[in-house]
């Protein structure tokens, strides 16, 4: 299993994905957790090597942390090669390494404050904790399925 938390920890709530992944790393030492500023192409190899991947990111215009399953895809416009979407990364894994995880989740954490700050807003901090608990449950579910 691979957990990728990404965002800018100097931009307030934008760092929620990174904070969540840091919590997951403490609670699940067996799970590989990666914290990043943005999604980059070389993650494709690690993604191709795992059976379940979680992309955790801050997201505007949602009211609570939520998970959705994704499949390979591409951005509608030109893919950004300095950073990629989770769907594009899956495509990259599939095209380069001919393998993608059985399950790939994008987990959004509601975020609203993006000013210069290393702190999460109270609402996002609460949602980030919910996100971590959600990942706990999903990790448990996946572990049970794999037995």
């Amino acid at each position: 299993m691979l957990v990728i938390g990404y965002g800018n920890t100097l931009r307030g709530d934008d760092g929620a994905g990174v904070r969540a992944a840091e919590h997951v790393a403490v609670r699940h030492p067996e799970v590989r957790c990666v914290c990043l500023h943005q999604l980059v192409p070389e993650l494709a190899e690690q993604i191709a090597d795992c059976e379940t991947v979680f992309f955790i990111d801050a997201q505007e215009n949602i009211s609570q942390s939520s998970a959705r399953l994704i499949t390979p895809g591409q951005e509608a416009d030109q893919p950004r090669t300095h950073f990629l979407s989770p769907e594009s990364l899956l495509t990259l894994s599939l095209q380069l390494y001919r393998h993608i995880p059985f399950k790939a989740y994008v987990i959004g954490i509601p975020a609203s404050q993006f000013e210069f700050s290393e702190e999460l807003s109270a609402e996002t901090n609460r949602a980030m904790q919910e996100c971590v608990e959600m990942v706990d449950r999903l990790i448990l579910d996946v572990s049970m399925e794999n037995r």
Partner: protein
């Protein structure tokens, strides 16, 4: 603009005869890192300024730490310097690999006029999967060194004023050495590819930023290619060294910063020549041009071949050859990483000089992937930042990038048609990509990379525009 880092816009201005009169590369983002770091502690600065950019955080980290060394007035231990050098080279490698394999190779392998929907990394995979994969792995090698040294790939706080936080684990050294054969092979593929590209685009290359300018960069004490320390050297477009052994800490005596109302990106220039005649270029093209030699054997052989492109002048003035210079620097980085890892001093345990504030002003300077980078801080007696000035490589190429855009637009655009074709537009963009600009760094901007090009008639009316 696409396949660059940050926001930008290009306007192409026609004259009364509908010929291209001017073309401008606008940067329309602003972040203000210099302002909001005021009031923070010196020791926080490497961690904060590394957040300027997700692509070259290690360069800001190192330069900031060097400014801190200056304020502490310390000489860092030998091992710390070698580890910092290792980190600098890893940053070069991962950044150059991204620029060459993923941002520019789609143009070269698929063609400037190929379908823009597939002229990207996925199109590259379809055309040459192994090449694309190799590029990703080379970048991964650089990233892995950064991760090993700093425990995190991005925004690692491992480099600090006075040295580094942790010594190198011997087991990790072997992991890094294990990458070397593959990395050398991959850079060899890149060098083969770039030479084929030179032949393929032989007719177009002369229009890609082909002009004389000053070239600025660091060289080692004995004139070799330098990346972490050394002196500033300035060469003119005829290959004459017009200034040498300049102390980087006095950069503000040599360079001024002009501003234009149409861009947030400053326009640094060489003061003795004034603005805009003091235009200069930094980065791979400048570095490989100005040095007398490269200390690693394979890269030195390539440097000699590179210099022949300059003909009798002995200096390569065409910005298209940034790509070649970048490949040579990747080769140097791999060779030098191997040398550093095989140096027993790299495993030393003395890694940090401890001191308190001994000066209230300090300058750090390194060669970031895109060129020479300065961090200049003023602090109070407690180490609180009173003023910060960051002079970024991309900004230093600003005048030259504008000239490149103008040259390409003038050559390829027929204003009488009042339309810009996508292929021409892509050539204009490709001119900018030669410099691999990082607008996140240079304006300290944040965000995505929309394309916006406007074609204006003599009265300023928009004849055509393209957005992506």
């Amino acid at each position: 603009m696409t396949r660059i880092e940050g926001h930008a816009k290009i306007t192409i201005q026609l004259d009364d005869n509908n010929d291209v009169a001017d073309a401008r590369f606008h940067v329309n983002e602003f972040r203000g890192f210099e302002k909001f770091t005021e009031g923070r502690l010196l020791w926080e600065m490497p961690g904060i300024t590394s957040r300027i950019c997700g692509i070259c955080p290690a360069s800001h980290l190192l330069t900031s730490a060097k400014a801190g060394d200056d304020i502490l007035a310390v000489e860092i231990p030998e091992t710390a310097e070698k580890l910092r050098r290792l980190l600098t080279l890893a940053q070069w490698l991962q950044s150059h690999a991204l620029s060459f394999f993923h941002l520019s190779a789609p143009d070269f392998l698929l063609g400037f006029d190929s379908n823009p929907a597939t002229r990207n990394i996925f199109g590259l995979i379809a055309a040459d999967k192994e090449f694309a994969k190799r590029g990703i792995r080379l970048r991964k090698f650089g990233q892995e060194i950064i991760e090993i040294l700093g425990s995190r790939r991005i925004h690692t706080p491992w480099t600090v004023p006075g040295g580094v936080r942790e010594p190198l684990d011997p087991a990790k050294k072997d992991v890094m050495l294990g990458w070397i054969p593959e990395a050398k092979e991959t850079v060899g593929l890149a060098l083969d590819a770039i030479k084929k590209i030179h032949k393929k685009f032989a007719k177009e290359i002369p229009e890609f930023g082909n002009f004389r300018s000053l070239l600025v960069g660091l060289v080692s004490k004995d004139g070799g290619l330098e990346y972490y320390d050394g002196f500033l050297r300035i060469m003119d477009g005829n290959g004459n060294t017009i200034a040498d052994k300049l102390d980087p800490k006095k950069y503000f005596e040599y360079f001024g910063e002009a501003v234009e109302p149409w861009s947030y990106l400053k326009f640094p220039y060489y003061k003795p020549f004034d603005y805009p005649k003091g235009m200069y270029r930094v980065g791979p093209l400048a570095r490989v041009n100005i040095c007398d030699f490269i200390e690693t054997p394979m890269a030195e052989e390539e440097r000699k071949i590179f210099k022949k492109l300059g003909g009798n002048v002995g200096v390569v003035n065409n910005s298209f050859y940034y790509h070649y210079a970048r490949c040579i620097e990747m080769l140097f980085a791999v060779e030098k990483i191997e040398m550093l890892l095989n140096d027993p001093a790299i495993l030393g345990q003395n890694i940090r000089s401890m001191a308190s504030i001994n000066r209230t002003e300090g300058v750090g300077c390194t060669e970031a992937p895109r060129g020479v980078l300065f961090h200049h801080y003023h602090v109070n007696k407690d180490g609180v930042i009173q003023k910060a000035n960051l002079v970024i490589a991309t900004a230093q190429n600003n005048i030259a990038m504008n000239r490149t855009v103008r040259q390409i637009a003038t050559h390829f655009i027929d204003g009488k048609k009042g339309k810009i074709t996508e292929g021409i537009l892509n050539r204009v963009e490709a001119g900018i990509r030669c410099y691999d600009p990082c607008l996140s760094c240079s304006t300290h901007a944040l965000g995505q990379m929309p394309l916006h090009v406007e074609l204006l008639n003599a009265g300023g009316e928009v004849l055509d525009e393209i957005r992506r």
